[in-house]
Symmetry: C2
Subunit: 193 residues, 2 copies
Amino acid sequence: MAEELILKNIAKYIRLDKSEQDYFLSVVKKRKIKKKQFLSQEGDISKGPVFVTRGILRSYTVDKNGFEHILQFAPSGWWIADMYSMVTQKPGQLSIDAIEDSEVFLLPKPELEKLYITIPSLERFFRILAENSLITYQQRIIGSLSETAKERYNNFCKTYPSLIECLPQKQVASYIGVTPEFLSKMLKNKNIS
Amino acid sequence: MAEELILKNIAKYIRLDKSEQDYFLSVVKKRKIKKKQFLSQEGDISKGPVFVTRGILRSYTVDKNGFEHILQFAPSGWWIADMYSMVTQKPGQLSIDAIEDSEVFLLPKPELEKLYITIPSLERFFRILAENSLITYQQRIIGSLSETAKERYNNFCKTYPSLIECLPQKQVASYIGVTPEFLSKMLKNKNIS
DNA sequence: CGCGACGTTGATTTGCCTCAACGATTGTGG
DNA sequence: CCACAATCGTTGAGGCAAATCAACGTCGCG
């Protein structure tokens, strides 16, 4: 169940007693997002971080030529947000939408601020979350600096085996930083590492 | 003075009373690092995060062809670490060395863990640090996905105006993801945005 | 001085993009 | 339930940004 999923996610790093769990659940808001529906758009101010309990979300930018560039996929069990906008509360450059019909918990930023005070161990939880996230972004930068498109694709498959199966190729191309046409040609020459 | 610099850095986000400040200063270790000297190398296990009080450090990987790819520059007033290795305490893939004669405070990981307990607000400090760092890495990924080398260079100049003046071109090339030769050619055709 | 690191310049190559056309699949409204 | 549009993946021809390789000048420094 959705509530169990998010509590279990938190329990990976910190312990909450029953009353803290109840309080936490009382401030998050359940939201359904249909396929292709936006959670937030470029220029919006982030309402707060979101935890996915069903489906898949993605965050991306659109460049001046109209091409999408995907920053993150968030299948169920993952957090997603426009961090820049969430931290600064200024308009962000990311759009977040659903790739499939999805369900999420929104943790409103004002509630989050209160939680940091009433349940200080949540500060630790989100510190660890940020650190882990940081690590994966660092890996991705290293990849984009030192690997070929082929290698980046193979790494993506290794890192997100479950996503490969349910994502359109186009989205994977956008994530690893090549055109859909080029990815298609790449895959024809069976380049499995 | 070095001690003031690090306390001021912390004071940007949290308040420590005098005894907490003293305790904090008592657990960090001052280190001098000569130009080209390593703070840590690929395969090492991170000793903990480092705060630069003088000079400039850099973290980078070396790819299979022997080329360096710079992940981060850390001038004085900045933190730097191999986050992966620091969090997991497994051998990291980053090397960190000094571009100029430098001075740093090392915050040993075991001490950091204790600090999180004795001074819980440091948990907040490092959460905010990780979040801000996360944001800059996200921006960099978006840049690498959607911008040309020229645009990435111009952004680098805008974002780190003080670094441009003291870094060899080669290092900037390595950071923005082009060869030194290409950056040189780019700059000849006065492509200032 | 002489060596090594750096920046420069040119010739050539290549990984990936652009544009365009086409078939297959999906989904949607009449 | 079918017709049509939309989306997706594929394929090919041609183009460009950036890499590679090689040679050379310059400077700072031991």
